[in-house]
Amino acid sequence: MKLFNGANIVLSEIPVLGVQLFREKIISQCQEGARLVNFFGHEEVDGGVRLFAFLGWDEDSEITVFSTRILADHPQYESLTKDLIQAHWFEREVAEQWAIIPEGHPWLKPLRYHANYRGKADIWPDVSSRPIPGSYSFYAVESPEVHEVGVGPVHAGIIEPGHFRFQCHGEEVMHLEIQLGYQHRGLELLMRGRDFKRSALLSEAIAGDTAVGHSIAHCEVVESLSGCVIPPKAQAIRAVALELERLSNHVGDLGAMSADVGFLPTSAYFGRMRGDYLNLLLALTGNRFGKGLCRPGGVLFDVDSQMAEEFCRKLKGYKKEFEDVSNLLFTKPSVLARFEGVGAISMENAKKIGLVGPAGRACRLERDVRIDYSSGFWQFSHIPISLAATGDVFGRALVRRQEVVRSLEFLLRILSSLPQGGIFVKPPALKPDSLALSLVEGWRGEIMHVGITDENGGFARYKIKDPSFHNWFGLSLAMRGQEISDFPLCNKSFNLSYCGHDL
């Protein structure tokens, strides 16, 4: 069954395959050029679990969806990961959420350390009763010459919690295992039900630095299921907010990367300039992170011609400033020496593990939801894709630099020709027993929300995927063979979300 971004479908129309065929079809489609954009379970009335696979065909702007049933009395299936590495994290998530064993999974550990969703015996008996990492060991290299470094969960700066375990030979990192889950809030379960006012607020707190991206994805799921078509001006305002969010984060990241190579002038400049974009979001939405703007049916704040002109005037100044400061950063040999060749991932490996967003585009992976699966305002106004070929810290910095300039050009264009008309329409009730999906290119990459309704049109299942879910493994891979002192720089160059991953 082929779907486009923002589509909905009656659940019973999604094909149900035998477990073995389901597995083979995922693997063969990925060999033919698709990638696994989502893979999750949903409990059925008979106590079994229906597994859904979503495969993205980026060039065709289509997503194929099919499913299988894992029976209540046989909670296992043959793992995909041994043949398809990009399924690694997804299968661990399914195992933890539904107590289903992917047999033969090479590294079956909990992701978030919580009890499963259906009250069965957990695969890991003490998963929710003992602090992370519980009774489960880390990957270790055994040799009298190898030492282990453990960092976290609480870090040195103002950073979310996570645990990093390095296997080192001298300064060289042989392996890094990242254990997350400390931020787990039980979000997917809270999103269930019919209180869409509440789910909109929750969607803004999935990852606060991506409040706009996640709330757009959520709104689009509700709008799809209710058949609500929002006014063009609301779509344009959402696009403005999403690009402002991208700008603030990309500019902030360039500043953080400057700080980690000890180049303080651009660290200070970018740090201040990041605030300029947050303050534009504040002027637009009353909140520096854009919380409160997007609601199912449109947006709550309008942009009149005076505000649009004011924004354009400011953005033109910010663009000049950005170009000057990034020239300062990207022309310094001492900076380039620290950016180039550090934390490189090959295009082949990036593809294998399923990297998305700027980290993927830095490996020349042409993946950008705004282009591949354009919805909303991006159907009418385009942003060119920004790519780098080196896959290293430099590549990730360069992609951000390009994307900042292109987002600014995009904003100047749409703010000077905003559509006329209203900004909100009240969405009708949601279709029962249906599934809707939405993809949004957040600043970290591909966000995907999937909502499944019950017979009353409330959410029976709500699946959230932050791009970090794909990319954390990329950070591990990038650290192989690197000096451990380059970890902070590599980490900043990815700047992944802990809470977006932990949910």
Partner: protein
């Protein structure tokens, strides 16, 4: 200074039901009228519950604590289930715009170096132990700050079995900074009041 759409201290009309600044998320569609006043912090949990438009802002620590910390306060930050918005706007205090260290306040890399901790997020189950260990590792006397709706009351996550109902259910709290997230000015105002540097 702040734009007109900024949502600060709520305005209470007439004899409405009490409003808990520690629970609300300052959303534009929650039926509350907001003013432009960014001063929100309180030293006592009950002072966050507004019954009318009277304002009880945070007061300074006692003399002994002020003598110790008034000119130099080192804080350890613990994110315990936060969405990273609170964390991001704490980080902003270190930029050239706010330049927090000019007030003698710094975020430090170890609880052993800290005079207190500032906590964000609803203190989820998986962070409870790390939070307690951080608290215990700080030398006495120590102060504790809850920043943001989640840390104060559990916020949007209060109903989740994974979250707590606020930091005060785990350790004693000296300063509450409401918001979702609090504006950097709100945080700075709260910290300076705690140290007796702002009294108005």
């Amino acid at each position: 200074m702040l734009p007109s759409r900024y949502r600060g201290r709520p305005m209470i009309a007439g004899q409405g039901s009490p409003l808990d600044l520690g629970q609300i998320t300052f959303a534009p569609d929650d039926g509350i009228q907001y003013s432009n006043d960014f001063r929100l912090s309180a030293a006592k949990r009950r002072d966050l519950v507004l019954k009318n438009n009277e304002t009880v802002l945070a007061c300074a620590l006692n003399d002994q604590m002020r003598q110790l910390f008034g000119r130099s306060l080192k804080l350890r930050q613990v994110s315990a289930g936060g969405c990273n918005a609170c964390e991001a706007d704490l980080n902003v205090l270190n930029t050239v715009v706010f330049d927090l260290s000019r007030f003698g306040i710094q975020f430090v890399a170890s609880p052993r170096h800290a005079d207190g901790m500032i906590v964000t997020g609803p203190i989820v189950r998986n962070m409870r132990e790390a939070l307690l260990k951080t608290y215990e590792a700080m030398p006495e006397p120590k102060i504790v700050i809850a920043s943001g709706a989640c840390a104060i009351s559990g916020g949007l996550f209060a109903e989740s079995p994974e979250a707590s109902k606020g930091l005060e259910t785990i350790v004693p709290v000296d300063l509450y900074i409401p918001g979702c997230p609090p504006h950097p000015l709100t945080i700075l105002d709260g910290l300076l009041r705690l140290l007796g540097r702002i009294k108005r």
